[in-house]
């Protein structure tokens, strides 16, 4: 874990000279190996390792720093490492020749250090520290191209919104500390911790979870998580964060950092009581839905992915909310792989597009879907990876996404079924969302790799629009492998058998429904396939001569009216809806923040005016008043002798009179 820190320091010292990024690479490699063999394997499903050193004593309490490695953290940090490694490799090619490359590696190492630290922190304060450091690193990386106005805006926004979350987190920490007198995670949330068993170690004897402060603390923590993993309405920073380099987006804003929120929730899970959990679930659902809808309307490939990330995070949050945080972690892991992969692929594409752009002095946005198309033939490998990833995202069988997503949806369904009533809405929404997911990801695939390439005319024999370089491809392959089911479990269908679920298994309070296990996956898969087909037809059919693909033609003919129907009612409708909603998001939710910040600035100006003219004004007024009295006093001194005498004697006489009549 400390390797990246070393790397960071070394590179910081080397400054401009550290261009290659070898240091960072070796460091992350080392830490990956260690985390796999040194940490993960021994700890996984074994006793938790806990090392602590005294940090400082304040008042009667002593705070410790240290490492806490249990199943959860071990898994998390493994994921981080395994994702980080390929991204590093990828970046070597992707970022080649950038002027600030040394900073890039520096920041990246810093991030890895912070992220790993976050995963294995011993106490909440330590966790908080790394939590903010992660945010800081992402701030740096988003604003990596600091001459770009939008980038700077974006990173400021990201940091500030994260700050809101951080404050929530801090308040939570403070509350816990105030009531339990300790911040040690194992002491608080461990098997024997305060919250888990309600054992008395704090100021208050036996801990009643339904006290108001617990709720409050829970909400505070959740606020932190919301900001970090971009939950509605604090999600607005994530799309903007795409201003950073794509590799960064893939690592930080898709795979790891944004998942930290979920990780936090899983860590402090015992703290939550019903109220909080319900809030979490609802927020998660809203996020999932809204984000998925926004994703439909996007043309910027990275933005689509960003929104899809948000919606997936929504899934995880829901997972936590319903108490199945094992499922959430599972989905987190799988999602890390395929979403990272998606980004890398997108990155590759964008990379090429950018190259092309520079070659053929044409001004177009290399990230715009509308400018792409038919790239399948130019970059087949990328295409394959991307397809795998998208399938996984869409939750097709034999992919990891299938397992994890099903796990969440099914559990939710069981949960809702257990509670009944309006709760059923939630799984339904989730299902719809996953369908939408399938649709928009399909849309990306088709728009990018099928159809005719807009600028094909420019690609002459001499200038080849070629496949991404090896260094970029290898990581992609690795991740592609990672997003297939065998990596996670023996069975392609049953998520219960995946090793993550087996170990992290939480005892669910509600009965599992057999039929759900059959019916929901089927529904999902079917829906996904349907979506893809619709997408296929809708995006390909208009553009390709019928002769191209007979099966399709037939299918299309049969389903013609259906297509029409879909097109008119469903697809168009949805797309419109998504447009509207996106506009809403842009102008209302984000607008609100803008408005808020504007308001704050205005307000601050007013306050300053107040300060300058009222507060300070009073001071000066007082001074001048004194000065003026001094002026008045001088009126006596008019130089007239007799006036003087008159004055003096009059006073005497007045005095006498006063004393006589009093």
């Amino acid at each position: 874990m400390l390797f990246p820190l070393l790397a960071f320091i070394i590179q910081a010292l080397l400054g401009k000279k550290a261009i290659s990024g070898n240091i960072a690479l070796t460091a992350i490699l080392a830490s990956t190996i260690i985390s796999l063999f040194g940490v993960f394997l021994p700890v996984w499903n074994e006793t938790t390792v806990l090392k602590k050193w005294e940090w400082f004593t304040i008042g009667e309490h002593t705070l410790y720093v240290g490492i806490l490695v249990n199943n959860l953290t071990a898994l998390m940090q493994l994921v981080v490492c395994i994702i980080a490694l390929p991204v590093h490799i990828y970046s070597r090619a992707y970022m080649k020749g950038d002027s600030g490359i040394h900073r890039y590696w520096m920041y990246l190492s810093l991030f890895c250090f912070a992220m790993l630290g976050l995963t294995v922190s011993l106490n909440l304060l330590q966790l908080y520290i790394f939590w903010e450091l992660v945010g800081f690193a992402s701030y740096l990386l988003i604003g990596f191209w600091f001459t770009k106005e939008t980038a700077v805006q974006a990173n400021k926004k990201a940091f500030l919104i994260n700050r809101i979350g951080d404050i929530g987190f801090l308040i939570g920490v403070a509350l816990v500390y105030a009531h339990c007198g300790t911040l040690d995670l194992s002491a608080l949330f461990g098997q024997t911790g305060t919250f888990f068993k309600g054992v008395d170690i704090g100021i208050i004897p036996a801990l009643d979870k339904n006290t108001s402060w617990v709720t409050f603390a829970g909400l505070a923590f959740f606020l932190g998580a919301m900001a970090k993993s971009a939950q509605f309405p604090l999600h607005i920073w994530l799309p903007d964060a795409m201003e950073g380099p794509t590799s960064v987006s893939s690592l930080i804003h898709a795979a790891t950092m944004v998942a930290a929120g979920v990780f936090l929730l899983c860590t402090v899970f015992p703290l939550f009581n019903e109220t909080v959990l319900l809030v979490i679930t609802i927020i998660g659902t809203i996020t999932a839905l809204s984000a998925a809808l926004f994703a439909l309307g996007q043309y910027d490939i990275k933005k689509v992915l960003a929104f899809s990330t948000i919606s997936q995070l929504g899934f995880m949050i829901v997972g936590v909310g319903i108490g199945a945080w094992d499922a959430a972690m599972f989905h987190l892991t799988t999602h890390a792989f395929f979403k990272c992969l998606l980004f890398l692929c997108a990155g590759a594409v964008i990379h090429e597009m950018a190259h092309l752009k520079t070659k053929i002095q044409l001004d177009f946005d290399p990230q715009d879907l509308r400018n792409m198309g038919g790239l399948r033939r130019f970059m087949p490998k990328t295409y394959t990876c991307m397809v795998i990833a998208s399938l996984s995202l869409a939750g097709f069988p034999f992919t990891s996404g299938y397992l994890s997503k099903d796990s969440i949806v099914i559990t939710t369904y069981e949960w809702a079924n257990h509670l009944g009533g309006a709760y059923v809405l939630i799984p339904v929404v989730l299902i719809i969302v996953s369908l939408l997911t399938a649709f928009y990801i399909g849309r990306i695939i088709f728009k990018t790799f099928f159809g005719s390439f807009k600028y094909r005319t420019y690609i002459k024999a001499d200038m080849t629009f070629h496949e991404a370089s090896k260094t970029m491809l290898i990581p992609m392959f690795v991740l592609a492998a990672g997003s297939l089911f065998p990596f996670f479990g023996p069975s392609p269908a049953d998520y219960h058998r995946s090793w993550i679920m087996l170990i992290l298994d939480t005892d669910s309070t509600y009965p599992s429904l057999a039929q759900a296990h059959v019916f929901i996956p089927a529904l999902l898969t079917a829906g996904a396939v349907l979506m893809w087909l619709i997408g296929w037809n809708w995006y390909i059919k208009q553009k390709y001569p019928l002769s191209e693909n007979n099966i399709l033609v037939r299918f299309a003919n049969k389903q013609g009216y259906l297509n029409e129907f879909n097109e008119r009612i469903f697809v168009k409708g949805t797309v419109e809806l998504s447009r509207i909603l996106y506009a809403f998001d842009r102008h209302v939710v984000d607008g609100l923040t803008k408005l808020f910040s504007w308001f704050i600035r205005r307000f601050s100006v007013i306050v300053y005016w107040f300060d300058k003219h009222i507060v300070d004004g009073l001071v000066n007024l007082f001074a001048h008043a004194t000065y003026y009295i001094g002026h008045l006093v001088r009126h006596v001194q008019n130089g007239q002798l007799q006036a003087y005498l008159g004055f003096a004697l009059t006073i005497v006489v007045l005095g006498i009179l006063y004393l006589l009549i009093k």
Binding site: R634, Q637, N638, G639, Q640, L641, Q642, L645, G646, L649
Partner: protein, 101 residues
């Protein structure tokens, strides 16, 4: 028979006249005269009271000293008024106000 009261009344009158002269007269000499009157009023008092102070004639003694001092003061005063006149060519206090805020 003239009682103490008469003396007091008279001296009070003289004092007031003197005071009036000091405050109202537009001539420095007259102011000096006013001062003299006030002092004399006091002296008159002293003498009058002194009549009842058989022990050590404090009143009379005081009166004598007062007369002497008054004389000295007035002498100085006159000299200075002369000096003022040299510079201002007037002894009307109203026109003498170089020094003021």
């Amino acid at each position: 028979m003239i009682t103490l009261t008469h003396f007091l009344v008279v001296s009070a009158c003289i004092f007031c006249i003197g005071l009036y002269a000091v405050l109202a007269k537009r001539n420095t000499i007259m102011i000096l005269v006013g001062i003299e009157l006030m002092i004399n009023a006091a002296i008159l008092n002293f003498v009058a009271f002194g009549k009842y102070d058989k022990i050590n004639y404090g009143g009379q003694v005081f009166a004598l000293f007062a007369i002497v001092l008054a004389a000295a003061a007035v002498a100085v005063g006159l000299a200075i008024i002369l000096n003022v006149y040299r510079h201002f060519k007037t002894i009307n206090p109203e026109n003498i106000h170089e020094l003021k805020d």
